[in-house]
């Protein structure tokens, strides 16, 4: 029987887990412990509902409502001078919490501080675009849509960015296998030669250690080369020795055809 593998997360898992191992947590500090952050968080809390806030590894993290993302970011940009949106993307929590966590990484040049704004949306919920505040979100949101399938409202050009336009599936979801589904594996063959060519081209070889002795399209046995595409499955034709090295050969590369003399123990020692 094949072992059962959960379908909601097909990423690689650790094959061994210690039963008594308790994973440590990165400590979460109180935002009041930092003077810059404590002022910022005070101002933020007076205007918006912040469900959680802490400092982790020197960076303030706040959790906000998904509906208020534009207002919070606008406030951060205009009032608190976090004017660079360095990065935004999502994290897939579909299996655990049926949704995605979206994070915005903001940077303030004047305060030399970073802040991470996080929010949680359900699977089919859309998020408002912030690209009128930060143009950098234009590309980042498109990438998020491409990779996770998260809809972004009011985005001017929400199309796939990294994958081709006619791609199926969202590659960074945990349900998407690393090596692609069937559509992905035949994508280039279907597109260039048509579905009929699948038999001729053959499936992808994903095993990096794959060697096929009878496949003369891709492999050549050193010293027993045959012309490409010869069928050697029944009996291997005797090939006359191929001349691979012109004009005395190449430094360090041995001529395989040369009859090699077996050295006796004494001769070997003398060498």
């Amino acid at each position: 029987m094949r072992p059962y593998r959960p379908k909601d997360n097909v990423q690689k898992k650790a094959y061994y887990n210690d039963r008594f191992y308790v994973t440590p947590q990165i400590p979460k500090d109180d935002p009041a412990s930092d003077e810059v952050y404590s002022k910022d968080i005070e101002k933020l809390q007076s205007k918006f509902s912040i469900s959680e806030s802490y400092i982790q590894r020197g960076e303030l993290v706040i959790y906000i409502d998904p509906d208020s993302n534009v207002e919070v970011l606008e406030f951060l940009k205009d009032e608190l001078d976090y004017s660079f949106l360095m990065e935004m993307s999502a994290v897939d929590f579909l299996a655990q919490r049926e949704g995605f966590e979206i994070f915005y990484e903001l940077l303030s040049l004047s305060k030399r501080k970073r802040i991470r704004v996080k929010t949680f949306i359900k699977e089919n919920q859309a998020i408002e675009s912030v690209q009128h505040l930060f143009r950098s979100a234009n590309f980042a949101e498109r990438e998020m849509f491409d990779m996770f399938g998260i809809q972004v409202n009011n985005h001017p050009y929400l199309k796939r960015i990294l994958m081709p336009d006619d791609w199926e599936g969202y590659p960074l979801r945990k349900t998407y296998p690393l090596q692609g589904d069937e559509f992905a594996q035949w994508y280039e063959v279907d597109k260039i030669f048509g579905k009929e060519a699948r038999d001729i081209v053959g499936p992808e070889i994903r095993d990096s250690a794959h060697i096929d002795r009878y496949d003369t399209e891709r492999f050549a046995r050193l010293g027993h080369e045959v012309p490409r595409g010869t069928d050697i499955s029944k009996d291997e034709p005797d090939t006359d020795n191929h001349e691979f090295q012109e004009e005395g050969g190449v430094f360090l590369i041995k001529d395989l055809n040369k009859p090699q003399k077996v050295l006796s123990e004494k001769e070997r020692r003398e060498r």
């Binding site: 090596q179 692609g180 992905a184 994508y187 280039e188 063959v189 009929e196 070889i205 891709r218 490409r228």
Partner: protein, 171 residues
Amino acid sequence: MAQHQVNYGQDAGLPVALTTIDKIVNWGRSNSLWVLTYGLACCGIEMMASGASRYDFDRFGTIFRASPRQAEVMVIAGTLTKKHAEFIRRLYDQMAEPKWVISMGSCANTGGMFNTYATVQGADRVVPVDIYLPGCAPRPETLQYAVMMLQKKIRREPANRNRNLKQKRFV
């Protein structure tokens, strides 16, 4: 005028060499391989380096061309992704016969370390490849050796060879 006269009868002074058509055509072909610049990823940088000062590719008669119509060798230098695959086929079709393909780097050979959904597992799924060049990234010397191997291969083949055999796998 008399002192400039060539004495054809003198010892091997005859300015004539006898050879076969195949040999002379292949000699010409193999010594002026024009390469289509196809730098796709990291290997493309090494391809550029082999064209630049230290490794000077022009010594082999190999000149980089930007247009497929003027090129006869395509060096696929880098990772071929599924999104790009159709373009490589397009450019390959635009090249005039006779044409050869060198697949440079493990990515172009087999997909290399990128065993993922987005990478074509070997450029030979899309275009027929003549020389596979291993390494990640292969050094410029390796690329030069590959070009030398290709020259040798060209010299061995009949000049008007039928390429149908190679195309067989591709509809």
